[in-house]
Each structure stands twice: as C-alpha cells, then as structure tokens.
Symmetry: D3
C-alpha cells in the first residue's frame, strides 16, 4: 500500500452564509466571514490516493492522469469562481472549508476509482493557519 | 541605514474590472479574472521601512508600532472585504495587484514618517507565483 | 468525521536539562542543546481536532473559539518565556519537544472537549527539520 | 506512543525507465519523464519513527543519532548521484518516487530498530506538488 | 515604476563540468557536483520586470503573456532536460547557476521588451539554501 | 555583476535589554521581549555576496567556501548560544535583530573580501513575519 498526494490550488470567493437566515443573523454568527460583499482565498488542495504499486509501471497511478482528474472535476469549476453561487457541486452549500472538503471528496471518489486507485484524503488549507481534512465516512 | 520588513496578510474578494467598460469587454480583456461573481485571494503583504538604528533603543522603529500602523491603515480596511467596492482607498480603482500596491503605499507613507522612519517598499504576493513591488515614484 | 487543524506559533527559550544530573553530565548527554546560557526556537504548533460537521453551522467547531483556546491555554503561557522555568505546565519537565507536545495535549484536551470536539493530534515543529507528534495514549 | 519526524534533502538525477522496454516505448509511456539525457530533482525526505518517550532522557530517540542514520543509509548514497545507475539500493529499479520510497524504507527499517524505535513512515516530496508516502506493508 | 515578479519552476539534470578539463580535474575542482552520472535540481525561477502601470488596463504587463514568454523561452527548453547537453541556450556552458541565470536573462530580455516592459532581474534558487540573481551588466 | 545568496540558520536565546537600564525599565520599553528568563528564535540568515563570474570556474565564489566562512564566523559562535552573554561579537550589545545584522556584517566583510567577492547584504528573519536587512553604510 502506497500513498500518493497531489497538490493543486484555486482562488475563489465565498462567504459563510446560512440561506435559512438573514444577513444580520449570519453576520452575528460568522462575523466578517459572512461579509455580504464576499471575500476570498487562495485555497490549497491536497488529494491523497492509495493502492498498490503497479510492478510494471512503477507507480500507483499515472500522476498526469491524477492531475487531469483534479483539474477537470475540481479546479476548473472552482478556480476564479464564487463558491456559494457559481459552482455546481457547492452552490447552495454553507460554504465552510469543512463542507467544501466533503464536496470535493464526492467529486473525486468515483473518477479516482476508475483509474484503479482509492481516494484516501482530501485536505484543504484555507489560509496558512487553517486546514481541514476529510477521509470519508 | 537599516531595512526592516513586516509581513502581514489579508483575504479579500476582487475582480479585474474597468468601470468604463461593460462586463463583456472586461471578460474579453481579463478573462476569468473579471468573473462578475468575484473571486479572491490570500494576499501577503511585505512592508519595508528604512532609517538609522536608534542607538539607545537598538531598533529602527518599534516593531509593535509598525505592525499596529499596518493593521490600522491597511489590514483592517481590506481583510474580508471586497477590494472593488468596500474599501475606502481602493473602491473604484481597477483592482489589479499593481494598483493595490500603490494604494497601500499611499496609506502608509505618512504614518510611517510620523514614527521617524521612511517607507521603502510595498510588496504584495497575490499567489505563490505572482508578486508586485512598489518603491514610490 | 472531519479533521480541523489550527497552526499557531511561539518563541521560547529552553535547554535540555535533566534536573537529577549536573551541568557536566547534561552537557555530555545533550551537547550544546544543554547550554546553561539557554537557547531558543520559533516553535510551530499544529493542533488537530476531530468530530462531525454541525449541519446548521457548517463547521466542526468555531475556528475563532479554537484559536482562543490555544492562545489562552498554550501560547500566552509559553510565548517569550523560558520553558524550563517560567511555564506552569512545563516547568521542571525535561524540556524536550516530545515532553512539550504531551504537556500541550494535556492543556488542550478538556477545553476542546467542552466545545464539543475531540483533540486528535498535537504536532510541534522545533526547527524546519524536526517535528514531534502526539496522538494521546 | 510519540512520533518523531526528521526532514533531510538530496539532489539527484533520474529518469522513468523500464529496462525491459526500449527508449521509444519508455518515452511513450512516461513522456519527458523518461528523457534519455536524464533530469533531476531536489527530493525532500521525511522519516517518521515512533515509540515511547524514554522517561530519563526525555526523548524517543537521540535526534542526532537518527539524523546520522538517515545520512549514512540514505542521503550519502543518493545525494548528487544518478538514482537509476549509481545507487546500490535503487540501481536497476524503475526509479519512480513510489519505488524510491520503498527502497528507503528498507534501508532504514533495521538501523532504526537497533536504536530502540520503530520506523513509521517514509515520505518523499519530488516537487512541491507531488508526494509519496510509504508506511510499510 | 512598478516591479512585477513571476515564479516558475523546472526540474533538470546538470553537472559542473569545464569541457577544457578531464573528468578527474573536474571532480577535483567541483567535487560530487561534477559527478559524471549527473545529478539534478528543482530549480525555482523568479523573473522580475519593471515599467509603468498602464492606466487603462491597470497592470504593467499582461501576467498571462509574461508567463507564456517564460514558458516558451525558458521552461519548455529546460524542464526535464539535461542543462549541459540538451538545451540550445545552455549546452556547452559551464552549467553553474550563475551562468544559467545569465543565459536565461539573454533569452528573456528581447521578448519582454517587445511587450513594453523591461527585464529587471533573473533570480534562481538551486536549492532552498542557494540563490543567484542577475540584474544585467 | 552577479549576486549569490547563501541561507543558513541558527537557534539562540536573547532578550531586548539595555544594560544602562534596570529590568523594570527594560520591561516597560520592550515588554515581554525583555523577559529576564530569556526567550529565543530560529533565526534565518541570508548572506548575499556580489562580483564577477570567474570565466574558467563558472562561479562567483566557491559556494562550499562561502558556506564554511558563514559557519565559522557566524553560525558556530551563535547557534545554541545566548546572544546577549555568550557570543564574542554580540555580547553586551542591545540584542535587537538590527544590531545582530550589523554585527554579522562586520564578522563577514573581511573574510568574504579575501575570497575575491564583496559582501552585499546581510538579511535576518527573526520570525516568519519580521525581517531586517543591512547593506553596509
């Protein structure tokens, strides 16, 4: 069993906003993180997959293929977008890093499986001080 | 002559947008950087001041005071805000990193001078790959 | 189950020193790490907590609250102090990074629990090359 | 149980090359990673060992001794060498990061054990975006 | 006057080798850096250009265009190549970081000028501890 | 003219302390930075030298020699020491980063000159947020 991690990045706008509540209540709950004018981050994404080394190819999974999957299913839809309103798999979600991590896991699980590997972890750094990791249920 | 640099960070939303042009023309000029739904970054700011070492105090300028000036004049107005619409000293500007750097220079020049030092450089990292530095005219 | 990590930093003095032995024996055991004049580090602390995402709030634990707990119970007592002699929860300990990590775990376990999360890991980087992690017994 | 990680670095040349195939087939499989003129990397190695804290010494294992073991068994043979042709424990291997990680694990397992600790993980960063970790079978 | 820096990376093989001398003399001069089996690095390149901010566009130079120039004239020829033997603008050079920096400067000076900016600096990190910067004659 | 930078690190104890004043006055001036029990840092040092590339050797100065000079004149005396009391070239100084930078400049100027290069800059990072640079008078 070997673990392979690919790092990718995306820059996006978001706000903490519970659609069941109004702007005032959201601001009370989340403070400036719920600023109605939005704010944004350079999110750093670490995707870890696991499996056996293919003895003939020497690797677990073609790294270029893994990169392409992450770009297609995650980075292209998210980069330079609004996470709350413009991304098919996060629009309407309460756009916390926790929920973004789970949504990215769901985007990647099947495509990684089709390549013969297993998704192990989705880790996101929202800032240099805050990280969220999801390993599945 | 000694140079002292303080690093601070802010996370904000912006888009490349020339208010003299429409959304379509802006998108053509700037691509996804002009996404009307905004995007954002973790901007890293490096402020460098210069001057002589105070022989009795051992430093050029009280670092805590320099930090407070940067927080008051730059970070508090910018952090978790929309650079294009919510920040007094950048609202209405074409919100490029170049223009943000000049605007931050203008915010800091006088307050740093009052502390007996001289502003030398304002440097901003927009992403880990893009940096802008302004040294005054 | 989701994992949330908060990074904080403290700068402190310490020396490797077994109080049952004299200076000479300590220097023989630990070399310059036991220098009686002290030395110090910029310690980087990673605190990871785990639990379920609150479906209404979108997060595992309020990040601002987690930060406040780490500041109150760990950073304020340790920062700009002498780990061997001035910190209630490490004074008298053999001030290795291993023992500091366990002592920080003990400081944080209950306060994190009261917030409805569970402490998962305390990781410390003493330098850019040396790291210690403690996951509890 | 405590985990101690030591970071070391080596710069080496390699190419992806399956010796059962010719240059053309290798180039087709691996692209420019199989360039016959070689390329190279600054590999970053993280070695994690685990065990109990020695109550008298305050540490899991003497960090200087751990560093010496990694230097002797891994860094000296690999640094400024050709991984495919000049390193006893990797020559002839398909020089993927996956296989290098396993080979380094095999180099370190016994020497770490003799020091009273247990090897937990060998992690290699090939670039700032690609990482491989091996935890044993 | 504003300064804009773009960071790019390339991984390549090289050795310190003066073609006027034999392998033995080169090894004596440069030690293991002249290993005939090659070694390699993840080189990090910082290209800084300078000029005035275009008042209508808000930037000094289109960052995407600057990136494309660096990729075309520097990264594509160097990445996953042998600096001593496979790169048109460095082959036959004594492949020190100093000479590589000057060669990259010569590659970029005119293409940057055609975009209306002026090349200010080429900086290369060979490892995390060694950097070379060239500002022109 | 080419610029070569070497990064080295040292971990040391210090306090801000003006020996003409008592502990109380120093604490009032410098706050916890003057803690009588000391604190410490992982200082990161960047030494930049400049000169012409030797056309036969391909470099400005032998990097191994530059490293040895920095280790001998700066790192060995400072690492794991008390900057205020145990280092010949800083003892008795008001141990600010500014004064440490000037003291290191004075240590290195002549030895670098003897190697045929010229000292250009001494830069120190005290923490990841604070930097001091000295370029000579």
């Amino acid at each position: 069993m070997i673990y392979l991690t690919r790092r990718e990045r995306f820059s996006a706008a978001h706000r903490m906003f519970n659609p069941d509540l109004g702007d005032d209540e959201n601001l009370e709950l989340y403070g400036q993180c719920s600023n109605p004018g939005w704010h944004g981050h350079n999110y750093i994404l670490y995707v870890t997959v696991k499996g056996d080394i293919d003895p003939e190819l020497g690797y677990l999974i073609n790294l270029k293929r893994l990169k392409d999957i992450i770009i297609e299913y995650v980075i292209t839809p998210l980069d330079h977008r609004n996470i709350n309103t413009q991304v098919p798999f996060t629009s309407g979600l309460l756009a916390s890093t926790e929920n973004i991590a789970v949504a990215i896991w769901n985007q990647l699980y099947e495509p990684v499986k089709k390549e013969g590997a297993e998704l192990h972890s989705v880790k996101i750094a929202e800032t240099e001080n805050n990280f969220v990791e999801y390993l599945g249920d």
